[in-house]
Symmetry: C2
Subunit: 398 residues, 2 copies
């Protein structure tokens, strides 16, 4: 059955390619300047091991892009060039598009929020309406902050659904059915007039945890967003994980009950059919005078309504069981739970933890921390800003 | 609920540290020499963007370590130093320890097998017996190949069980209960007298697929080993995934039947209780005059024995269901199935594929390739040799 092993040509990462090399070298220079403050080109060369010619070329390109300023100076009596990062000369935009809102954040290179605003959108809005609202909001915020449009190096946009990176479209199974099949990237780039990077909202939530959140030292983190759908964003080995074509973290479709309810994905008994806010609302609205909302679930739980507590307990244990499979597979250090139920705190964490410990390999169940997200409803937009920095090679992976 | 986001200090990867930088620079130099053949130091400097001083320092260290040879030459009429990789001056050893065998492979820097041999071990052997057998085998192979012991840059050893990287010990749940809790790294280093890197056998199987196997261009690959236990090795974003402390790929303990059989991990209805070779042997030995073996399962399946085919079909579908969860989460391009049942080919792949498609998100189920491993029973040892190259920074991640 075995064939003769053969040597591999290592073409995938193409480490010798000039553009990959330049990006890597630019990352080194940015990291060095972030760590130390302004340096001369000669000092950058010494601290990075790069040749002075390489440093000089890359500083020229970064200066043309507005990422750094250069000023003549002297060093040991010689003429030199001092290089400084432009913290507000170049800003990134993070945008979070939800079912009923859009949020825009403007962030500086050194991870400060310059401006932020959210506006409501009607349920079932068309993709173009969401995009136009985001563009209006961005222009308002730029004007109010006294920033030029040209200062925006790019926008990172979170979409609540799986995005097929081969086509740039939201694929079926998204929480926004009106957005499915539309080339959202083209739509956004023409409305925002900046380079746009799109990603799934849970991925951006994960990215925010390790850049803006309290988990900056964590290499392996799972961000679980429990909402109308359930999805996860993965930080693995220090970097976001996108897989073959970007459809990752679809834990909402883990089979929990082999013969359970039919799911919108076409399977049966998926986690979403037992633990999404949509099913919780459906279960708790039965017999109620009018349909309840997610906010009602939070309120009723704190009022210790028995049916609400039971529904949360069952949902939490099912999420915990799905998390056990994830933890057995990936051995994360931390699992962060986000979404509109994060306010429940221990009321939701406790059953998730029980489900995790019951179904995980003992050593993994005991050592995996589970916490609620502390970034609230701005996590996805903050992750969007980080995405811009990373995609442009301004910061290295993490 | 939300706190003010704060800037992050990027300490984790510590890109500025001198040793990390030197390793990165050494990788660039090795990759460049592998791609082009011998070069002068000045040529290396031009092709990598590194300063001539940096190149000269690293070449000196690599020369002292026996990884490269340097010879004086002239270039454009000037004196220069030509640098050449030593393909047999430095070799890596891959060792695979199984329940009933140990295999040793000696491999060169350019991925050629120089020598290879396996010997049987008694079932239930002590860890020290396996280690001593490996050391004897290594010395025999070195002598027969005319290699000095000093040419061995390190040994990568695959162990069939989860290894806690915090303690360097095999943790409970291993297929070799006699090895649990022993500091296998110390034992191996003192017997082999070379730097040793240990890893789970499924991880090394995955590494072999993307370095020695036909999947060198694949960034996201899952290697599933079906044997007495069931485990997976993960190549994610082009690198092996180890998680927080090394216990990854424990898919054998995904819950398949909530109220199923008790598993050796302490849970119920785990994948291993329905799809391992151990349970298949138990099921098929009932009523047989004497217990059957894994080889009997393969033979009976090709003879189209109905009970055997049914047991394989049920096991395959359960593996497929577990793979659906993995694929939904990680979106791999390829899943490779290995272990002693790989010879079954389509008889096992077909039910796995059905289970995958039945339980995965449609787009993921349709696009994930599932194939049998073509590296046979040498996959783990080959992966061990790759591990040495990677851990020593001789080759970059992939």
């Amino acid at each position: 059955m075995s064939v003769e092993p053969r040597p591999t040509t290592k073409t995938r990462r193409n480490p010798g390619s000039q553009s990959a090399l330049r990006q890597l070298n630019q990352q080194r220079i940015v990291e060095t300047l972030l760590g130390t403050g302004p340096l001369t080109q000669a000092e950058i060369s010494r601290q990075t091991g790069l040749s002075t010619a390489t440093v000089s070329n890359i500083v020229k390109i970064m200066s043309d892009d507005g990422l750094v300023s250069t000023t003549p100076t002297t060093s040991s009596g010689r003429r030199a060039v001092s290089v400084r990062l432009n913290s507000e000369g170049a800003v990134a935009v993070g945008i979070d598009v939800g079912r009923t809102h859009v949020r825009v954040i403007i962030a500086s290179l050194d991870y400060r929020i310059i401006a932020e605003r959210a506006v409501p959108l009607p349920l079932g809005h068309l993709a173009i309406e969401g995009v136009e609202a985001a563009a209006r909001l961005l222009n308002e915020l730029l004007e109010e902050s006294g920033l030029q449009h040209s200062a925006v190096v790019g926008a990172g946009v979170g979409i609540p659904g799986p995005i097929d990176s081969r086509t740039g479209t939201v694929i079926q199974g998204a929480i926004l059915p009106e957005w499915v099949g539309i080339n959202i990237l083209e739509l956004l780039e023409s409305a925002l007039e900046v380079p746009v990077y799109i990603d799934n909202d849970a991925n951006l939530g994960a990215l925010a945890q390790v850049t803006w959140g309290p988990h900056s030292t964590i290499s392996d983190l799972i961000f679980v967003k429990i909402g109308s759908g359930i999805g996860a964003g993965l930080i693995l080995g220090g970097s976001p994980h996108y897989g073959h074509y970007g459809v990752t973290g679809e834990i909402g479709h883990a089979t929990i009950f082999e013969q359970g309810m039919i799911c919108r994905c076409g399977n049966r008994g998926c986690l979403e059919t037992v633990a999404s806010t949509a099913i919780m609302i459906e279960l708790l609205s039965r017999g109620a005078p009018e349909p309840i909302t997610t906010e009602d679930i939070v309120r009723l739980a704190f009022e210790r309504d028995p049916a609400t507590l039971r529904v949360i307990d069952d949902a939490g244990q099912a999420v915990g069981r799905a998390m056990a499979n994830v933890a057995n597979l990936l051995n994360p250090e931390v699992i962060v739970v986000g979404g509109p139920l994060a306010e429940l705190g221990e009321l939701l964490l406790d059953p998730i933890r029980r489900g995790l410990i019951r179904h995980a390999v003992p050593s993994v169940g005991e050592s995996t921390q589970i916490v609620m997200s502390s970034l609230g409803n701005r996590a996805e937009a903050l992750g969007g800003a980080t995405l811009v920095f990373q995609q442009q090679g301004i910061h290295s992976a993490l």
